[in-house]
């Protein structure tokens, strides 16, 4: 009999203790509020210099981006990717380090490296990407990075990109080449002697 009442006492007592805690938080709702009205308000993303080559390299992994004018087509990022979501095709440039205005190809990267390849295709399937960041480290020109990286002023952090169609998540970075232009690069015509 006494156990019966002890049980009731325990239950009421522990329930009261628990309710007191939740009520305490309810009364101090202004102080203890941890949620945000999401689409209107957002948590700030942490920004910091990671001391890894770049001045203002952000560690946040939100989306891959490529500065295609700096890409030399070395395929190192393609090989580093564990899920093979990066696909690159290259065509040998006729003259190393020279601009080809017809296909908007620049001959030199911003670091001054002469390009030997024209990148005809550079696609990243972000629906396959596993955000491991392994592709960004081997890049010799540091042109592939998670958005918010070296050019964070140019590319704002974009962590909630969404599309209506899955194919829209395949990002194309290379400049569009028509089949004739590709053919012209692969089989350069001997220049007419004057």
């Amino acid at each position: 009999m006494s156990k019966y009442f002890a049980n009731i006492y325990d239950t009421v007592n522990t329930l009261w203790t628990g309710m007191r805690i939740t009520w305490g938080h309810m009364i101090n709702i202004k102080r203890d509020n941890v949620t945000l009205q999401y689409p209107e308000e957002r948590w700030p993303r942490p920004e910091r210099n990671i001391g890894f080559e770049h001045e203002d390299y952000n560690v946040i992994r939100s989306r891959l981006h490529v500065d295609i004018d700096d890409c030399i087509g070395c395929l190192k990022c393609e090989r580093a990717c564990p899920v093979d979501c990066i696909k690159i095709d290259t065509i040998k440039a006729p003259n190393r380090g020279e601009d080809i205005p017809e296909v908007k190809h620049t001959g030199e990267t911003s670091n001054g490296t002469k390009k030997a390849m024209v990148v005809s295709r550079f696609t990243i399937d972000m629906s396959e990407c596993c955000y491991c960041n392994l592709c960004t480290y081997p890049c010799p020109e540091e042109c592939i990075f998670m958005v918010g990286g070296p050019n964070s002023s140019k590319h704002p952090i974009d962590y909630e990109f969404s599309e209506f169609d899955r194919t829209d998540l395949i990002y194309q970075f290379a400049k569009k080449l028509s089949p004739e232009q590709k053919d012209g690069l692969q089989n350069p015509k001997p220049e007419a002697e004057a």
């Binding site: 203790t17 628990g18 939740t22 941890v34 955000y131 960041n133 998670m146």
Partner: protein, 372 residues
């Protein structure tokens, strides 16, 4: 007089069921409401981790280890890199060791917080879950600040870590610990000592010590049965032999030794021990370059290694076999949650269906690790 035996009913729980903690299907044979047998069906989350590892390079395996135990990805990374370093005979700088221990213990707290909160949810207490997730969020924020990811980090590399700690990390982390330690008492008042919770868990699903050992149950589940076995203490890896911490054991706090409450209670005590380790590690952390010992090319010599580490779920082992090429010949993962699930049938016999949910929750399984 023969025993009157009713027809058996087969009850199917899962694969899409909130209390199976993932995609697990349980085929429960019941006699009335009493469970007579449980057949777990696995494999809904099978992603060929071990076979896949044979086709990628050693550093590319690390993102896949993240995805095995996704609630404690740092500890999954930790086990793999410790095994690889033993195979390649790399001695990492002190700072790397300290950073790894800090990250591993923070992730242990985060994982235990989720385990305890979700356990309350299984039993029917909703509020503690929100409180624990609120604090887990702060740990994930620290991870995001350190390495840029919140859940799947790819932070520990063979021979180092990907990024050094931020300059003010020490301050942030100690600030968090100061805030967090009083919260443990709040959880206890809110959930642990609650009479309804105790009635649901105490004396339920007792795993005796000999059964736990014979099934190979490890981690908090084993320590809840009163067996003192912690890889961090008994077979120290990394720098765990430098820290002063206790191995909490179940003591039949409200019922029998090895019941669901003991397993819950051991996790709660382990959080306190992790806080202790964190404070020591944050005090002693030396300076240095975290990229100093990164090998140019990971190509270990011929041979094999087995190294086990203590993940939040128990004894996490990696067997790595190398044939001298840049890709592993074989990677085997010994998963603690898998053995914890195997004991479910033996323990749940004779209990009611609602108790099966309590037992399953107390084992704290992660299906990503069971199916791999």
């Amino acid at each position: 007089m023969g025993v009157v035996k009713g027809d058996q009913m087969i009850l199917n729980i899962g694969p899409q069921h909130p209390s199976t903690h993932g995609v697990l299907r349980l085929e429960v044979m019941t006699d009335g409401e009493i469970v007579s047998e449980i057949r777990p069906h696995l494999g809904y989350l099978h992603r060929c981790f071990e076979k896949h590892s044979e086709n990628v390079t050693y550093e590319q395996v690390i993102p896949f280890t993240d995805r095995c135990d996704y609630l404690a990805a740092m500890n999954s990374n930790f086990g793999y890199v410790v095994a690889m370093e033993e195979l390649m005979e790399i001695k990492v700088p002190e700072r790397v060791d300290y950073i790894r221990v800090i990250m591993g213990e923070l992730n242990r707290i985060a994982s235990h917080l989720l385990a305890l909160g979700v356990y309350g949810l299984d039993i029917g207490a909703f509020t503690p879950f929100l409180y624990m997730l609120r604090d887990r969020e702060r740990i994930l924020d620290m991870f995001e600040y350190t390495c840029g990811a919140r859940l799947l980090y790819n932070y520990m590399w063979v021979g180092g870590v990907s990024h050094d700690l931020p300059k003010d990390f020490q301050k942030i982390c100690i600030g968090f610990l100061d805030y967090f330690e009083p919260q443990i008492e709040e959880y206890n008042n809110l959930l642990t000592y609650n009479k309804i919770f105790v009635e649901r868990t105490a004396d339920v699903g007792v795993i005796p010590a000999d059964v736990a050992v014979s099934y190979g149950v490890t981690g908090p589940n084993l320590r809840g049965s009163g067996v003192k076995w912690d890889v961090r203490k008994d077979e120290p890896y990394s720098i765990y032999d430098r820290f002063d911490f206790e191995v909490p054991l179940g003591d039949g706090h409200f019922g029998t030794l090895g019941d669901c409450f003991d397993r819950y209670w051991v996790r709660m005590l382990e959080i306190k021990e992790s806080v202790k380790i964190l404070r020591q590690a944050l005090k002693d952390i030396p300076g240095g370059d975290v990229h100093q010992m990164l090998p140019k090319k990971i190509r270990p010599p011929k041979g094999s290694v087995y190294r086990r580490t203590e993940s939040p779920r128990g004894d996490l082992g990696y067997y790595i076999m190398s044939d001298g090429t840049p890709t592993p010949y074989r990677v085997k993962m010994r998963s603690p949650a898998f053995t914890a699930l195997s004991v479910l049938d033996e323990v749940s016999r004779g209990w009611m269906i609602s108790d099966v949910i309590a037992i399953l929750g107390s084992l704290d399984i992660v299906l990503g690790e069971i199916d791999r």
